[in-house]
Structures are given as C-alpha cells and as structure tokens.
C-alpha cells in the first residue's frame, strides 16, 4: 500500500519518524508498504518508489526538500498516487477545512483515511461515514478522542455484545492539568492557566480547552460512533472551568472529592465540571485522560492514558496497521482465489 501524509506539523512529523523507526515491523503486514507523499499547506513531495524517510527527517521545512512541488494536498489525492492518506492538518471546528475537503476527496476516490483531526468528524460525521461505505473505504480516527487511549477499538472489537449505558471521561488534558495544579498546589485558576501556557500545555487563547469546546467535540464523536447517535456540537450542554475557584476545590478536597471536567454521554450529552471521589477510577491527574465505560454485561471498564502529544501517534499507527491487515489480507485472498 502507498501512504501519503497530509499535514507536516507536530503529529505528521512524529508519525513519519515512528514509521521510519518501525518500517520492518510495518512491512510484516504489507511487504509493499511505502510512504510515497507528504503534503503541507504550500505543496507536496512525492516519489512513486517511496520517499527516503531518513533524509526527510532531516528537513524541518518541507519546502526545502528537493523536488518539492508547489500546489496543494488536493493534487496529491486527486492524482490517485496513494492508497491511504493520514489527514493530520490542524483541527478547525468552524468549517472543518482543509481536512474536510481532503477526507471527502480521498474517500470519494476510494482512498482509505486515517485521521486525528476532529473538525471534519464533528461537522460531517454521517456524510463521511456514508462516503466511506459507498466507496468501500476505511475511515479510522482513533486519535481524535483521548489520544492514545484505544476507546473505539475497545468498544467496537471487545464489547460487541454489550449495550453501552454511559460513557464518561476526562477528555481534555489541558483542563485536567489546570484542575490538578489547583488541587495539589492550592493555587487559583488564573495562575494555573498561566503556568499551563508557559509550559506549552495551554494555548495563548485557551478558550477551546477551558470552555469545554474540545471536550464537547470528543463527546460528539463518541456519541456518533459508539451509541449510534446523530448529533452535532450544539447538542452538547457545555460548562467550562473558568468559574472554578480555589475555594471550591479546597471544599471538595476536604470531603475527599476532586473537581474534574467530565464529558458524559448517556441520555444527555454534556461537558461540565463534576465532583469525582478521589478513589474513583476517573480521578486521574496532570495531563492524563480517562474514559469510564458502563455497559449492561461488563458493567464498568476504565481506560487511562495520554490524550494529546506524540502518544497520539500510537493510535494513528494502529489505524494504519488495521487497514494494512484488512486490505492486504483481502487482496491476498483474492489473488489466491484467482490462482486457484
């Protein structure tokens, strides 16, 4: 299979490094696996025989790479030069672009898609699923929710007979970091936020995280994928953490509770601060994420892990391998049937 990476930012670059490090392992699933293209917002590089990943790792700026072609990722996808794309452009929840165009175009041309980009899935979930099914493609997006935590794989593969009663979780590492600092260091929200910004954990404009928008996006993707809902971000009731005082956290702590920003999917969809007993499996601190699944048979399962950063590459690579296993197995079965 020929893979192209769209987006040469933090995740795209880290994925490329991991593919380079694990190339022999990946080729156990598909001996013809190649990375043939990488695109950024200005253009792309392409080599039908596979890019030299070691060389490519040395370039921070794709524009300086020999053979860089000015243009757009659309040219790479439209040229039918690849079988799988990893769409790793920045999340945009206003119109989903440019990721939405890339994913739609790829699926409509029968190209499989792996993405950690929430925007397109939040805005056009049903449309994208329909396109994938119609064109017999895979659209895998484990990295969109809680980074390295394999929540979709767990529920889809391991809880196939269970009915999901409720999903709840800490779905945003930035707010968990801020609330954890307030809990342990007894500092106010403003100081904890400033500290998070200095460490690069929070953006200069922190609204996307602290107002619960990021967590609400994840609630939408979880609800649409795992409990068969058809919802948009406006269907999620949302309260952020700006109003949480240090005194409130102290009062909670005295009674053995922590305050956490929790996304909940049951009959309602909600992101709001909740009191979590300190011995509850969801009571994890720092930038950790956690998801608690309540079902009719398994009852309760909790997953804890890193929700952002380079750990997300684990989910992206797993999605790529899933496609390689599924599709190369299928083609080998078809080939052996032809030979017979």
């Amino acid at each position: 299979m020929r893979l192209a990476i769209i987006g040469f930012g933090f995740l795209g670059r880290n994925l490329l490094r991991v593919i380079w490090e694990k190339i022999s392992f990946i080729r156990k699933f598909d001996r013809d696996f190649l990375v043939v293209g990488v695109a950024n917002s200005r253009g792309y590089i392409y080599d039908r025989d596979g890019l030299n990943l070691e060389n490519l790792m040395a370039f921070n700026d794709l524009l300086r790479y020999p053979g860089f072609r000015a243009g757009s990722a659309v040219d790479l996808i439209r040229g039918d030069l690849c079988d799988v794309i990893v769409e790793a452009t920045p999340t945009n929840i206003r119109d989903g672009e440019p990721g939405l165009t890339h994913i739609k175009l790829a699926l409509s041309r029968g190209i499989h898609v792996v993405t950690p980009n929430k925007g397109p899935l939040v805005l056009a979930f049903r449309e994208l699923m329909y396109l994938a099914e119609k064109n017999d493609c895979d659209l895998l997006y484990e990295g969109t929710v809680a980074g390295a935590i394999p929540i979709f794989s767990l529920v889809k593969e391991c809880l196939q007979g269970d009915k999901i009663i409720r999903l709840s979780g800490i779905l945003n590492g930035t707010t968990n970091y801020i609330l954890s600092r307030m809990f342990f260091e007894e500092i106010g929200f403003d100081i904890a936020l400033k500290e998070a910004q200095e460490k690069g954990i929070a953006e200069r404009d922190p609204s996307y995280d602290v107002d619960g928008i990021d967590a609400a996006c994840k609630v939408v993707i979880l609800a649409n994928t795992l409990v068969g809902r058809d919802v948009k971000i406006n269907d999620v009731e949302r309260i952020g953490i700006r109003g949480i005082t240090q005194e409130a956290i102290s009062l909670a702590k005295k009674a053995n509770y922590a305050i956490k920003l929790i996304g909940t999917i049951d009959k309602r969809l909600e992101v709001a601060p909740k009191l979590v007993p300190i011995n509850h499996p969801l009571c994890v601190h720092g930038t950790l994420n956690a998801i608690h699944v309540e079902t009719d048979l398994a009852r309760e399962i909790t997953l804890v892990g890193y929700g952002a950063g380079k750990e997300t590459v684990s989910a992206m690579l797993n999605d790529i391998i899933t496609i390689l296993k599924k599709r190369t197995w299928r083609s080998s079965v078809i080939n052996s049937a032809k030979l017979a």
Partner: protein, 164 residues
C-alpha cells in the same frame, strides 16, 4: 448511580408463639410475588404469647403489597406495623457564585434534607459552598434538576457529583 428502584416494605407481625406460625405468615407474601430481604424473629420479646417478627420485603408494586396485607389479615395474623421503606441517597454538591448562603440553607426543595454545609469566601467576594444533602433515591433526578434551577436563579455554578 440512579439504580433501578425496587419497592421495599417493612412489615412487623405479631405471631402466636407456636410452631408453624411463621410459615403460615410467609405464604401470602410468596403468593403475591414478595421477595423477602430479611426476617428478624424477636423471640426474646414475647408478649402475652405473641412474638414480634420484622420482615423487609421487595414487591413489584404497591398493589402486591396491599394485597399481601389484606391476605395476612384475612388469615387472622396481627399486623403491628407496615410501611414502605424509602431508600435515601447522600449527594455532595459545590455551588460557586455570588451565593446567598442563608438562602441556600433555607432552600426548600421537597424531600431534600441538608445534612452538611460549609462555605468559603474568595478574595473577590465570590462564595463557594459545599452542600451535602439526603434525598429519596427515586426522587434524586428531580431534586438535582430543582437544585440546578435554584443555582441558575442565583447566577451560581452547581457542580454535581459524577454519575447523576
């Protein structure tokens, strides 16, 4: 957290202190679909030849409970006391805002009992309040909704416990 609500009843009978009386009393309970949770046979408290027996029984409906009581009376069993046992849930909340603590304490939400309350004022004058309440388990959802509405009216943030 809001479990399936089972109807639980407490029944105290006065049974003659003779063999076979308990079995006789249990028949109408079984016939009406009652599930016995506990039996306390207070043999150390006999009074004029009668022994008090306290039972906790689950029934599917109030009607089954009512029919059981009628059947027990029809076979001549004396009923000292019979009532529904309402399971109660303790819940913790935090309120943040320009909250009038006195108004919070005096919040008259039907069947909600305030167990504990602690407040702290921040430097900017905002008050944070920890409220511990006890509510009947089958009314919890409604009471939480009313508490949220009361908080909204005061322009305060209500932080409920997870799972409700």
């Amino acid at each position: 957290m809001l479990r399936d609500v089972q109807l639980k009843f407490s029944i105290t009978l006065a049974l003659p202190d003779k063999p076979g009386q308990l079995l006789r009393a249990l028949e109408p309970i079984a016939k009406n679909g009652g599930n016995i949770v506990s039996i306390i046979h207070e043999r150390d408290k006999p009074a004029e030849g009668y022994v008090p027996v306290s039972l906790v029984v689950d029934f599917l409906s109030h009607q089954s409970f009512k029919r059981t009581i009628e059947d027990l009376m029809n076979i001549g069993i004396t009923i000292i006391r019979s009532e529904e046992v309402i399971e109660r849930l303790r819940l913790m909340f935090i309120l943040i805002g320009n909250v009038d603590v006195k108004r919070v304490i005096e919040t008259r939400i039907e069947e909600m009992h305030v167990i504990n309350i602690e407040a702290m004022r921040s430097r900017v004058g905002e008050v944070s309040v920890r409220l511990e309440v006890e509510v009947p388990i089958d009314k919890a959802e409604k009471i939480i909704w009313e508490l949220k509405r009361a908080a909204d009216e005061q322009g305060a943030i209500l932080i409920p416990p997870i799972g409700v």
